[in-house]
């Protein structure tokens, strides 16, 4: 007997919808035969049989949603009982990412963590609608494209493919190929083309499939976009948004897993935004598109599928450059941005069980950095831990700590600590990757050290 398991069809897939079975009990299947269709967070994929034999039983009926990776979905009788057994879920080598007793990734954010504070920007009577970060970003672009014909989206696979991560889903259908433009794989070229179009008065949204690939285009982001207003004495602006996923995905290795927050946040002329939840993703992307300056908008692939409350209001635009206190506490201030905010909130909940009340500040915008909010918090808590996914040296945490020392030195009761990725390229092996990336446990350890 061989179990057919729910397959992982993308690096970040944890569950999916079994949309269709092409086989039924009693059928015999051969290797390579299409047996089912599965919808992931990115696409609908056909599943082929690996083993041969008679179908004994369909274990998960078609139409089932949220089927976890590695769940047995059907059972085959091996031919003469001789078919090689399928890998089992409890064999580490074959498990989906992040499930190998990995303390950092165990608390995957597939559901919304308890966020303690309602955003003051959200009207008290606004209805809250559960929305994924992915759809919030899409809605932001669609709303701004409806509002302003100068706004267009350009990048790899943004149109016909509906977005490599489905962020641009249905935009081609609504806006047509004039305004949703598939490019060749040519980051340097299309980033420069976007900046040129912006100089001429359009408002491009340039999507990088990931910011790792924007390394090819960084000359245009910095030399052509960030500096032109200044070099032209205020005559020429580059009103453009560069956006896409940034930071570590899952098991994709060093070249696809870098956090560029600190790189871009160092450059005058750019504004750099890195939201955590869906409401901020929407409100800040709309603000970024409207802002007349070049913006680097850093998304996180691991959050695309996560649902959060988004207020149902007509035009939800948030101010750029304002941090947000996501949890109040009196004992220690934890600063974080993007995915690390979720880990910081989880760490705060665990710390609370031990009587340590952490205040969690979501930076949201890295340039300009809202250090007033951080400084005010540290004046109350007297302790600081910064958390970021990128490397520590010259990083976002280094900047946060320097600003706090400059503005609140006398209030500090302990040296501030930085939590960050280990100082190595991100490894592929699941255990090494988990050791390298910062998460809940490292934040808790740092907090305990500063409050000791």
């Amino acid at each position: 007997m061989t179990d057919i398991l729910m397959p992982a069809l993308s690096p970040t897939m944890e569950e999916g919808t079994l949309t269709k079975w092409h086989i039924k009990a009693g059928d015999s299947v051969s290797a390579g035969q299409v047996i089912a269709e599965i919808e992931t967070d990115k696409a609908t994929m056909e599943v082929e049989a690996v083993d041969e034999g008679e179908v004994l039983e369909i274990l998960v009926p078609e139409g089932s949603e949220n089927v976890k990776v590695n769940t047995p979905i059907a059972r085959l009788a091996g031919e003469d009982g001789a078919a090689a057994p399928a890998p089992k879920a409890d064999v580490p080598a074959a498990t989906a990412e992040g499930k190998t007793g990995d303390p950092e990734k165990a608390p995957q954010q597939t559901s919304t963590p308890k966020v303690e504070l309602r955003d003051p920007e959200i009207p008290a009577d606004a209805k809250l609608v559960k929305t994924t970060v992915r759809d919030a970003l899409r809605d932001a672009m669609a709303e701004e494209m409806r509002r302003d014909d100068r706004v267009f989206l350009i990048g790899e696979e943004v149109a016909q493919y509906q977005g490599a991560y489905k962020v641009s889903r249905e935009l081609l259908q609504e806006f047509g190929e004039r305004r949703v433009v598939d490019t060749p794989i040519t980051e340097h070229g299309f980033a420069g083309l976007g900046v040129g179009a912006a100089m001429s008065g359009l408002k491009p949204i340039v999507e990088f499939m990931t910011f790792n690939f924007a390394m090819q285009a960084i000359d245009h982001i910095i030399n052509s976009a960030a500096k032109t207003l200044y070099m032209s004495g205020g005559q020429i602006r580059a009103d453009i948004v560069f956006r896409g996923p940034n930071g570590a995905a899952s098991r994709v290795g060093a070249q696809h897993s870098q956090d560029y927050s600190a790189w871009y946040a160092q450059v005058p002329g750019l504004k750099v935004i890195a939201p955590y939840d869906a409401a901020d993703a929407k409100g800040l992307l709309k603000a970024a598109i409207r802002d007349p300056n070049p913006i680097v908008f850093l998304e996180h692939e691991m959050l695309y599928g996560t649902e959060f409350d988004v207020p149902e209001v007509d035009d939800y635009v948030l101010p750029i450059g304002k941090a947000k206190v996501r949890r109040e506490g009196k004992d220690v201030t934890i600063t974080a941005h993007a995915r690390m905010v979720g880990f910081a909130l989880q760490a705060a909940e665990k710390l609370a069980e031990e009587g340590i009340e952490a205040e969690v500040i979501d930076l949201r915008t890295l340039r300009p950095l809202d250090h007033e909010t951080i400084v005010e918090s540290v004046k109350k808590t007297n302790r600081l831990v910064s958390a970021e996914e990128g490397w520590g040296p010259m990083g976002v945490g280094a900047e946060v700590v320097a600003r706090v020392i400059e503005h609140a030195f006398d209030y500090l009761d302990a040296p501030p600590l930085r939590v960050h990725q280990e100082d190595v390229p991100l490894p592929y092996a699941a255990n090494l990757e988990a050791l390298s990336l910062p998460g809940v446990d490292k934040i808790i350890a740092a907090v305990k050290q500063v409050v000791a």
Binding site: F190, V195, N293
Partner: protein, 342 residues
Amino acid sequence: MAKAPAKNAQTNAPDKIPNTPTASKEDLLRFYREMVLIRRFEERAGQLYGMGLIGGFCHLYIGQEAVAVGVQESVKQGHDKIITGYRDHGHMLAAGMDPKEVMAELTGRIGGSSKGKGGSMHMFDVPTGFYGGHGIVGAQVALGTGLAFAGKYRGDDSVAFVYFGDGASNQGQVYESFNMAQLWKLPAIYIIENNQYAMGTSIDRSSSTTELYMRGASFGIPGEQVDGMDVLAVRDATARAVKRAREGGGPYILEVKTYRYRGHSMSDPAKYRTKEEVDEVKKTRDPIDHIKLLLAAANATEEELKVIDNEIKAIVAESVQFAQESPEPDPSELYTDVYVEA
């Protein structure tokens, strides 16, 4: 040995149009005036550099005047877009920018076109459609392709004139841009000013193929080689390419064979070529001498040219005076123009 610019235009354009340039005396006088303005302006800029009034890098356009002046004849000012690299003074003057503002930018004064914050390589002027002035070799090709994209997006019939040199023609982003421009039939005129030296490296030493007008062939972009020392040849080749682009025919490459008389920048002694080579071009191919011959044939008198010469002398002297008298930017300008206030 002197590599004189090609006399006979070569082309891989689909239909060869005979090139028998003619121009009215009035047009010839205008071209003469614009070319002399660029030359006299650049000579004075070189002098001010030597006096320490201009700092940093300063790349002079002397010898290449016929290119910018010939191309400009096809530019609809205020409608079309022009973009170039760091050797940009000639293009700016041809585009119609105020010589006072250009010279004051060179001296780093508040009266400069970028308030003294850009310098020689970074000047811009929206009314004349001049979008820089870019210091990273090849960057202007992708940016200029974006200017063309914007024109097509808006549905007007504007054209982007994208200048770059033989050196930039080996940059990867040039080919990324060619691909998109032809794929989307963008109205981009790529003008390769082949002055035969990428800084100190001759084209033979830097380029596996030196027929730069063929560089779009693998994308299906037609191109032709033009005598860049002949303003009428440049004018006519550009006009054909622009007509095609305005009608939706897509991008076109003009390889304009020219020659720079001075070093790459002010600090370049130009040891990589012989004095004889430079002298030979000056003696036999000079673009201003060439138009003087055409003017003589059109019965222009020495007196008519003298009037223009004196007028240009006055304009350049005025720009130098302005560039020296305009104050340095106020220290408060340090912090302006970093962001547009939303």
